[in-house]
Amino acid sequence: MSAADAVFGRRNRRPLDGSIPRKRSKGRAVWEEQPTLVGRFGKGTVLTAVVLLVLLPLYAVILTSFSSEGAITRAGGSLVIVPDGLSLGAYREIFSNGVVTRAVVVSFAITFAGTAVSMTVSILCAYGLSRARSLGHRFFLMAMIVTMFFSGGIIPGFLVVSELHGYDQFWALILPGGVSVFNILIMRGFYQATTQDLIDAARLDGAGDWRILWSVVLPTTKAVTAVMTLFYAVGYWGSWFNVLLYMPFDNSKWPLSYVLYEYVNLGVKMPGTSTGGAGATVQHQIASPFAISMAVVVLTLIPIVVVYPFLQKHFTKGMLTGAIKG
């Protein structure tokens, strides 16, 4: 089967013995006309271009971070596209340097703690609001939806956290954006869709709401839990603005995103690397400053790219079935 056939479906789906296939589960319907050559070619070109637009930059960044200084010089000091001399120097250097190692630890800590808090609060709230005609659920729901329509703005939010002494505190990176009303509404949609009979049966067996949530509702809604965990985790992993607001000066507390911003995006010299010109004291192979920058980019990229394929199949389900219901 050629690549073009894979994209557009085989022209002739009949088996070789000439029998008519019993079931056409996928593929072109009988009444559908065959695509024109131009159409097939155009569609293939567009979709290939779209995929390459996403993947090529990532490929170049990753390759450059593994490239030796010579390879980067030969590429004119910009991204390397063709592999030409590989080296782990950049990674050795950033991991022997306190700033990035600490940032990785901080990023993971914020991501784990934040996701745990957000998911706990969101699951509880979503279940609490999902039972029909419970006392006060309309009021709580309204209180949540109002925040989707109107917000006090950046400054009052900052002032509130400051007055609560959140400056330079890690909780200021987690709690202010800790719950997403949108996520809760989606989860609530899923919990509402849990079969009522199952819940009633559990209740007859003596289960309370906590038990029902834990043993009935959560096991039947794993897809949405997975997707929401990813959403929150990705948010915390990339947290940048809250760092800018609440701890912009103490670089020992910075997560990876902020390190990326400061040392790569703004181009501030990273303390203790050869970017700072202190390369003479470094014993191992000196990595190119550019490779070091790209290695930081790759570090922020990798956890997402690693976790992502496992959760990707849930996206459509997780986003759609839980459409907002009043």
Partner: protein, 340 residues
Amino acid sequence: MAVVTTGDAAVPEEAGPLAPPGAARIRRLRPSRRGPQPRLSWRIRLRRDRSLIIMVLPAMLLLLVFNYLPMFGTVSAFEYYDPIYGFLHSNFIGLQNFTDLFRDQLFWQAFQNTLVLSFVQLVLYFPIPIILAILLNTVLSSKLRSFIQAVVYLPHFFSWVLVVTIFDQMLGGAGLLNEFLRQHDMSTWNIMTSGSAFKYLVTAQAVWKEGGWGIIVFLAALAAIDPALYEAAAADGAGRWRRMWHITLPGMRGMIVLMLVLRLGNALNVGFEQMLIQRYAVGPQHAEVLDTFAYYYGIGNGNFGYGAAAGLFKGVISLVMIFAANRLAHAIGEDGLYRK
């Protein structure tokens, strides 16, 4: 079991001496969504639902502190806010911040930038997920389809810092594009610092990051279209393009309108982090939007009341726009964000 699901409060009394062991609990059952409306006093409901209310409280507490307190904190827009005195004891100056704001040339510049960026994104960004979804929907191999989906969704999960850094490596002064131009003896063009190209640059970034993710809702709308419609149309002689015009697009209409309403309601939110990160490279005359204005003048310059006033102005206009956009949706017979 039918008794159980209707959940009438009177059931336990009628159950009599032969009631099953769980009968005492039936009283506590909440009704399913269908069925007669029970009339219970709030005390009974409170006892029945107390664990539900406890579950909701942590989220409510967070919203109260970090969403509702700031709403009341907008009072600082009417104050000469001083961190030492806080919200309650700062000097109340009435509308002074607003009159200053409306006389500020830079504020109107930021307002104009916001509208221009929003408009460019509406025109150039909005159709892309729709086209991509229709295109992807015609790919027959489901393996290939899910591969393409996986690839185009990916950038949605990158932070703005990451996206801007990647764009810088592609289009910036030391980036791939300019390296290519240099090697071929052409004049270089640093797009990342170009003021005139900025609105297209940020749109391109938005497309790269969110354009793929945006197709998810449209794919769902496409999946909901009854295939029999296509077959019937084909039987009546409708070609590929006619089917798209008369079946596919009307089938997506509701979702397109909903997304348009969301986009219009959010017209003043144009990638705050995205602008903030690039404001320095491009310069405020091009990259200053209402949010970054509020941030710089409020927190950067320490003029909190002034920044809060700019933020409140934006919040109120946004609210009006959300309702207006929904009105528009209702006027053309769609639901929009909420029903009429």
